[in-house]
């Protein structure tokens, strides 16, 4: 048992923060919040606070990274030093390098990179406050920032995790559930076609639990998708 571990994570069929098993934490997204970036989005998701920005299509430096037939998509996921309890030393670490990679892979599928050969589209995700689920928060916000920048995309990419906590399959783990729960499964999808662009897992699932959690995560993604669309509607109007 780890230091600070609560005795139980599920009490009387409810989670410690009072949520139902399939309930998301509150999510707020605002598009177009930064002046300098070509597109941006600010997201609050439970205790997560995330700023995402998009620049591009723009020139590639160094040039040898450019592709003759498409844009390159680059993502940097970064945590502010003060976003976590133990101050994070500034600069990339192994975790953020991996998350930057899977974030790029989660987003690139929907971006029409072939329209912008020899350019770069840069996505920057800053975690200003972290409370479990930062990669899903980042992908969700980045997708809105890309749209805000006017980058042509086949779809938005919402992301959401499910997991196992106190033996139960639940949606959208918070800090405590992530630290002391049994499994975490972040997923990102393209809602129109229902394709999975991000899938990671750690912990312990039986085959049946996995399937249940997986489907719950996809359901979560669809709810997140609505909030993404709402944020863009709020800025750009339309239905």
């Amino acid at each position: 048992m780890k230091v600070g571990e609560p005795e139980r994570l599920i009490i009387d069929g409810k989670r410690l923060d009072g949520r139902a098993f399939d309930e998301l934490r509150p999510i707020k997204i605002e598009a177009g919040v930064l002046k300098r970036a070509d597109g941006s989005a600010y997201l609050e998701w439970g205790g997560n606070k995330v700023m995402a920005a998009c620049y591009g299509p723009r020139e590639v430096h160094p040039r040898h990274l450019a592709r003759p037939d498409s844009a390159i998509l680059r993502c940097i996921y970064n945590m502010a030093a003060f976003s976590v309890s133990d101050r994070k030393r500034p600069g990339p670490d192994r975790r953020s390098v991996e998350i930057s990679k899977v974030t790029r892979e989660a987003l690139e599928h929907v971006v029409f990179t072939h329209l912008f050969p020899r350019t770069a589209i840069d996505v920057f995700i800053e975690i200003l406050q972290a409370n479990a689920g930062t990669r899903c928060s980042g992908i969700t916000a980045a997708s809105v920032a890309l749209a805000d920048a006017g980058i042509p995309m086949a779809d938005l990419v919402p992301a959401c995790a499910a997991g196992k906590v106190g033996g139960e399959i639940v949606l959208d783990l918070n800090d405590v559930e992530d630290n002391y729960g049994e499994a975490d499964l972040p997923v990102a999808i393209t809602p129109k076609k229902g394709e999975v662009t991000l899938l990671q897992m750690d912990g312990n699932f039986t085959r049946e639990e996995f399937e249940k959690a997986f489907k719950l995560a996809i359901k979560g993604c669809k709810k997140v998708h609505k909030i993404q669309k709402e944020a863009l509607r709020k800025k750009y109007g339309g239905t």
Binding site: G4, L34, K35, R36, A37, S40, G47, K49, M51, A52, A53, Y55, R58, I76, N78, A80, A81, F82, S83, V84, S85, D86, R87, P90, G91, P92, D122, F124, E126, L128, Q129, A130, N131
Partner: protein, 265 residues
Amino acid sequence: MYDLIAEIKRDNIIQTLKAGKRVDNRGFDEYRPIAVEVGVGEKAEGSAIVQIGKTRVMAGVKLAIGEPFPDMPNSGVLTTNAELRPLASPTFEKGPPGEDTIELARVVDRGIRESECIDLEKLCRVEGEEVWIVFIDLHILDYDGNLFDACELGAISALVDTRLPKVEDGMIIYKEKTDERLPIKDLPVETTFAKIGDNIVVDPILDEEQVMDARLTVAYTKKGDICAMQKGGVGTFTEKEILEVIDRGLEKSKELRKHIPFKEV
């Protein structure tokens, strides 16, 4: 590329200044609208988001327990870091901090340190062995000029917002904040002026910074003393100009200080 834009802008900006105006219609001694919000980060011991016009900075204070410096055995440790994140400007790049970032962090740090804003001796826990380490991290989110003043204001606001976490057996329980505040002794404020051609204006926007000849930042204590200065840029100031800037800045510093959410005990 940048230079080209700069040339056209420079002409426009200088002509406007010659006519006694600024491109965004402000007076020479007028700051853009300022907004300070504190308590914006639950994982930080103190935090603030500062906006000066479109420039936006998030400041966070984290506390840790560590050893004092050998020559200051009964003094807490203060460290200031800035991150010009690439989302804040097309010209900011990933990678280790460059000279602009380092200068920014060091000038903000000097304002705080030299004004004796924090009573560091009160942050000693066990002389020579255990003191509070105060980390101030400045996260630049949107860059439209005048980072110095925004960062100093953000840093001080986050410091006054800070509450010490609970400590048990020498280990910090970050989740439980106490009501104890940092021992704040002064509230330093920095004001920055840009010299463009023959004119000197406060709080330059990015367009003005790109064409300015030189920059002068002055940090003032509550009493109105000067606790730090930094000239920047390849251009020069005359003696007279420097003394003028100091006097004009003092007035502005009083305005800026009102934005710090600090209640005297």
